[in-house]
Amino acid sequence: MHTRPHPVLIGFACLVFFFLLAPLVIIIGASVSDTTFLTFPPQGLTLHWYENIFEVSAFKRTMVTSFILAVTGTSLSLIVGIPAAYALNRYRVQLPSFLSTVFVLPILVPEIVLGFSLMKTVTTAMGFPIFVSLVIGHALLVLPYCVRVVSAALASFDFSIEEAAVSLGCPRWKAFFIIVLPNVRAGVIAAFILALITSINDVSISLFLTGPGISTLPIQLLAHMEQFFDPTIASVSVLLMLVTVGVMAVVELTLGLTFLTK
């Protein structure tokens, strides 16, 4: 039987959860305030600031950029990450152990350092277009998630099923697509979603790789906040929270959210 924690501890935990949610509620409140400045509790009620998101062309444009960037970067990352994760599990004995560390490197190097280095070397010295550098940066950013989450799914996959297919005459590449991949589908979906949300929220890498005419939503938000203090930022934030709710619903339906504590 579970022993109940001390009441003081329970009270403390309640406070913590209040502390976690209150700021987000405040943003929602501020986003419907009928004032030209940010305030809470809202004075009056309006959806004007939501309309304003789509009137400020910079928000519209960067939203599209962020979305395309996230999908492209994540897809690229999965295309190189899934084979790597597969090989790391399937040929664990043959491959040197340092290889699994290689894919954790983007975590060891601070994001902001990676962003700065990419700007210096890839954009300036090698002359890659800004959007291509952004895609490269975001693909690297999410690679560790892709490799690790897919690896975790593969770790519980029984490779003898694949061997059975191969020994019965199925070509290796076909066995991978019809036997292995469907079995780790949940892991791939999880990796895709986590990577997507990480990419959409990224600041530190995009910070150096945006220029005139090209920017991502978080960078645009930061720039907007430094000049204006109107509720549009709050309404964009609420929109981003709605995206989060959507993502959580998908995760819950495919894997269960408790997956994230593992």
Binding site: E111, I112, M248
Partner: protein, 275 residues
């Protein structure tokens, strides 16, 4: 072992991508810091002899340490309650913790801008209660940065620690209790040591995360509370001093790697069974 084995071919694209777009650029950043005409280490000498730069490094370390300790304490206590909660409630609490985590850093830091501002909610509340006579300026202080960072990292800490607490077999707690240990003794002698690896992982994530953060110090600290991340950005994009920026980048990376490796060692020593 030969290179013809399929394993090599499959890891090759990802390895090449990391080598080319992470290895080369970061190596390049590091190497430019050693090429100053006045000496091999003169860029670092410049960094460490400047009072201002030392202050930025010290402030960053201090904020990261305080954030780490506060998040550990808050996260552990909360995670303990969450892990003991009935199943339904537990799932709900985990959802509440995940939600801010998936909401971007900019949005979450922005919330504190609204709360702590001159006309912010906190000032309004304090004024109406009569604790203060005039609104306090809370923005652009170290405290503002720390509060927002703790807010940023507590969910991560809760989830990491709930993960390890869930892995502790119920039998161990029952055994401890049936052998006469008080709940307090069970906690310190059974739960705490077993949770240690999770606490260390959480501590590393929070320390390195706050040490290298940008958006939060930029929004809530401003110029007054310059941290390594905001300083790097200022050197690179405002003053175009790329060598100076590279020196900052190298110091940030070295600190991050040292912390990760050192904490990994501590974790192994405390619990040789885990990884």
């Amino acid at each position: 072992m030969t290179f013809r084995q399929p394993g090599w071919l499959l890891v090759l694209p990802a390895t090449l991508a990391v080598a080319m777009f992470l290895g080369i650029p970061v190596f390049d950043t590091f190497s430019t810091t050693f090429t100053d005409s006045t000496g091999f280490l003169s860029n670092y000498e410049k960094f460490f002899t400047s009072r201002f730069r030392r202050a930025v490094l010290w402030r960053t370390t201090e904020i990261a340490l305080i954030t780490m300790i506060a998040s550990l304490l808050i996260g552990f206590a909360t995670a303990y309650v969450v892990s003991r909660a009935p199943k339904k409630l537990k799932s709900l609490l985990i959802i509440i913790a995940v939600f801010p985590l998936l909401t971007g850093v900019v949005v979450r830091s922005f919330a504190w801008l609204v709360i702590l501002g001159k006309n912010g909610i906190l000032n309004q509340i304090l004024l109406s209660v009569g604790v203060i006579a005039e609104p306090l300026s809370m923005l652009y202080t170290e405290g503002a940065v720390i509060v927002a960072m703790v807010y940023l990292f507590v969910p991560l800490m809760i989830l990491t620690i709930v993960g390890v607490l869930e892995g502790i077999p119920e039998d161990l707690l029952q055994a401890s209790a049936s052998l006469g240990a008080t709940p307090f003794a069970t906690f310190w002698q059974v739960v705490f040591p077993l949770a240690m690896p999770g606490l260390i992982v959480g501590a590393v994530l929070v320390f390195t995360g706050s040490f290298t953060s940008y958006a939060t110090p930029q929004l809530l600290g401003g110029e007054q509370q310059m941290m390594m991340g905001t300083f790097l950005r200022q050197r690179a994009m405002v003053t175009f001093d790329w060598t100076g920026a590279s020196t900052i980048a190298a110091i940030m990376t070295v600190v991050t790697i040292i912390i990760v490796l050192a904490m990994g060692r501590v974790a192994r020593r405390l619990n040789p069974a885990a990884v």
